[in-house]
């Protein structure tokens, strides 16, 4: 009896909801038609589908770029598959995608640079498009501000510094009262570009303490592991006396440590992250169109924050057909340009490229053409 009456009520309401959704869908469809009409009036030559794949670090920024570019060019569809840097490079080399996003520049250790040159016919283009500071986040009772030198940070994550009142932490923080509790150092459980860049910094800043090299997968059986950026952030937040590393835009209300550069302690701001790129040398023996940087993680430049993730866009100088060449050129120009960089900074918290570097990258993208 009960069930029948329930059904009697439920069925009409389901129909009503379905109807309502159907109607609103119609409304939405009409709206898009209208907006498409108006923008078609402006002269727009770009159309078609542009496919890319690669680093998941760029995913949030890429969503903003896709939206921004598609609003400006309604006939264009940009697809980006965040399968990871390695997968993105693989697909680009195989010719499956027109461009790739990668947290590491192409190198010839596994023959990727040559393979990419073979795919393109000429040297591939590499331009930095996404620079994001990695914050050292902490959650320690009674500690608001924390300053750490490279050696101390390496010691904490390598496991040689185990309590918060360790003399080396105290030396970095003369005015802070540190608790005598055990440090829980949280690292990424998955293979990640964030870990790669963080360990690269540790290796450059404290080679004698951090002896495990630059690695994507955490090399030690020590400390707490968490899945993904959100996992690390929640592990640090839910734990006590914990410390971890995560993309600075995700730090939220957690404490963020300043890192010692030269004689100063610098926090992970967008400006400080972009500054590192300015003082970094280009990778040697590269073609003119290859803007790969050897990040100066051991810099002593004042105001530079050395723990950054720099992600690249990889593309060809020439494409087989005009349409793809135009699409890649248009999209990359937008992404690297001032508008795209601001959009990424707003949505993903990245650091906009320094002006000089942006101009240089735009100059390279300008040369993209059809064969």
């Amino acid at each position: 009896m009960n069930r029948t009456s329930l059904r009697r009520v439920a069925a009409p309401s389901v129909v009503a909801i379905a109807l309502g959704m159907g109607l609103s869908a119609c409304g939405a469809a009409n709206e898009t038609d209208a907006s498409a009409d108006t923008s078609n009036a402006s002269s727009d030559t770009l159309s078609g589908t542009l496919n890319g794949a690669g680093a998941s670090s760029q995913e949030a920024a890429m969503a903003a770029w896709q939206a921004g570019f598609q609003i400006a060019h309604p006939d264009v569809t940009v697809n980006y598959d965040p399968i990871g840097s390695g997968g993105g490079r693989e697909q680009f080399i195989a010719g499956g995608t027109a461009f790739a996003g990668s947290d590491a520049y192409l190198d010839d250790e596994e023959g990727e640079l040559s393979a990419a040159a073979e795919r393109c016919g000429t040297d591939p283009i590499e331009v930095p498009d996404y620079v994001s500071p990695i914050a050292v986040i902490f959650n320690v009772d009674g500690v608001e501000d924390l300053q750490l030198s490279g050696e101390t940070l390496a010691g904490i994550f390598a496991g040689s510094i185990t309590t918060w009142d360790d003399p080396s932490i105290a030396a970095d923080n003369p005015d802070v009262e540190l608790p005598d509790t055990t440090i829980t150092a949280v690292h990424r459980a998955d293979d990640s570009g964030t870990t790669d860049n963080f360990t690269a910094y540790l290796e450059a800043a404290a080679p004698s303490v951090w002896t495990h090299g630059e690695v994507g997968e955490w090399p030690l059986q020590h400390g707490e592991a968490a899945q993904g950026t959100s996992g690390v952030v929640s592990a640090v937040r839910n734990g006590s006396n914990s410390i971890g590393y995560a993309d600075a835009s995700q730090a939220g209300d957690l404490g963020v440590a300043s890192v010692k550069v030269g004689e100063q302690y610098v926090g992970p701001t967008a400006g400080a992250a972009a500054k590192v790129l300015e003082v970094s040398p280009r990778v040697a023996d590269r073609s003119e169109v290859d803007l790969a940087f050897e990040l100066a993680r051991d810099t002593a430049e004042s105001g530079a924050y050395p723990i950054v993730l720099a992600s690249y866009l990889i593309a060809c100088q020439t494409y087989a057909d005009q349409q793809t060449a135009d699409l890649v050129k248009g999209f990359l120009t937008y992404v690297v340009g001032a508008q795209g960089q601001v959009a990424a900074a707003e949505s993903a918290g990245s650091a906009p490229l320094p002006d000089a570097l942006r101009e240089k990258a735009l100059g390279i993208i300008e040369t993209i053409s059809a064969r």
Binding site: I83, E90, A189, G223, E224, S234, N238
Partner: protein, 310 residues
């Protein structure tokens, strides 16, 4: 006369269609199962020669899979140790102890537990259960630290294999409870009445009449719960602070072995080449283990079914 004849033929066509339908359905299950087995074997085999960097630093495929298998079994055993007595108690209370007015709603609530998505259990484990178990682990380390299970150092965020086991137990509980309570309800009335007539208390009735006749059902219910615990991916991937290549009995520390399913979920997005094959090979191991467990359960059920009274 003619009318009854038509009904006869119609029933026969209906029978044929229905019988054919069930046959196709069961054949499809076999095909799907065989397809999965073939896929896992074909894709998993190349991982035998995978280099160490594709195996998370392990020297061989066996060294790669063993810690994962250990973690899988450990988490499942913890889960069942907690879930089995709890489920049996809940089921008994629903079928024999609670007044009818109460047993219906309670049964419903337990069934609702099964409807909660595993991601939600994962979130709950990370954000609620883990931090609250942290102090408990610190206590365990201090007072029971001489046992290898509680050697410590205790995790402050509580993201340990013991927490994962507790979450898994809660996920397995509704399955075990639902099946066992049906089985308890089917206890032969005469046995129960005979026990009561002999002056047995309610607990003695349960022990003498209900539990023996339900033994095989309990085993298969526990095995289904075990299946859930072995294969659960998302909740474990979120809750557990896993380190590759670790085999430890310490259940309250920050360094825990991962489980096969969680490791596949965590490792797959960034895996390339032979790394993917290695993950699939670990999947094959889980597949085989699940089979072995199921067959073992069946064997137990058959044997205890023979021995059970009536």
């Amino acid at each position: 006369m003619s009318a009854s004849l038509t009904t006869g033929t119609r029933r026969r066509t209906g029978d044929l269609v229905f019988a054919g339908g069930t046959r196709v359905a069961s054949a499809l299950i076999l095909v799907a199962l065989a397809g999965v087995a073939v896929f896992l074997t074909v894709e998993g085999l190349p991982a035998v020669d995978a280099p160490a960097d594709k195996l998370g630093g392990a020297g061989s495929l066996a060294a790669f899979v063993w810690p994962l298998l250990f973690g899988t079994l450990l988490a499942a055993v913890i889960a069942l140790l907690i879930a089995t007595p709890l489920s049996l108690a809940v089921a008994l209370m629903i079928s024999h102890y609670a007044p009818r007015r109460l047993s219906g709603p309670v049964g419903c609530l337990v069934d609702l537990l099964a409807a909660v998505p595993s991601v939600v259990y994962g979130l709950w484990g990370i954000a609620f259960l883990g931090p609250r178990l942290g102090p408990v682990y610190a206590w365990l380390e201090q007072h029971l630290g001489f046992l290898p299970f509680f050697a410590g150092p205790a995790s402050s965020s509580g993201r340990t294999i013991l927490t994962a086991g507790v979450v898994l137990a809660i996920m397995a509980l509704p399955i075990i409870t639902a099946i066992t309570r049906e089985i308890f309800a089917q206890t032969p009335r005469l046995h129960e009445e005979a026990a009561l007539a002999l002056g047995a208390t309610r607990w003695e009735t349960v022990r003498l009449a209900v539990l023996p006749s339900a033994r095989s059902g309990i085993v298969s219910a526990v095995m289904l719960g075990l299946g859930r615990a072995l294969g659960e991916t998302m909740a474990v991937a979120m809750v557990l602070s896993a380190t590759s290549g670790v085999v430890t009995l310490n259940m309250i520390g920050t360094v825990n072995p991962s489980t096969i399913a969680a490791n596949i979920a965590n490792g797959f997005p960034e895996a390339t080449g032979l790394g993917v094959n290695a993950l699939i090979a670990s999947g094959l191991v889980l597949f085989v283990i699940t089979f072995v467990v199921n067959f073992a359960a069946r064997a137990i059920v058959v044997r205890s079914g023979r021995g059970a009274p009536g």
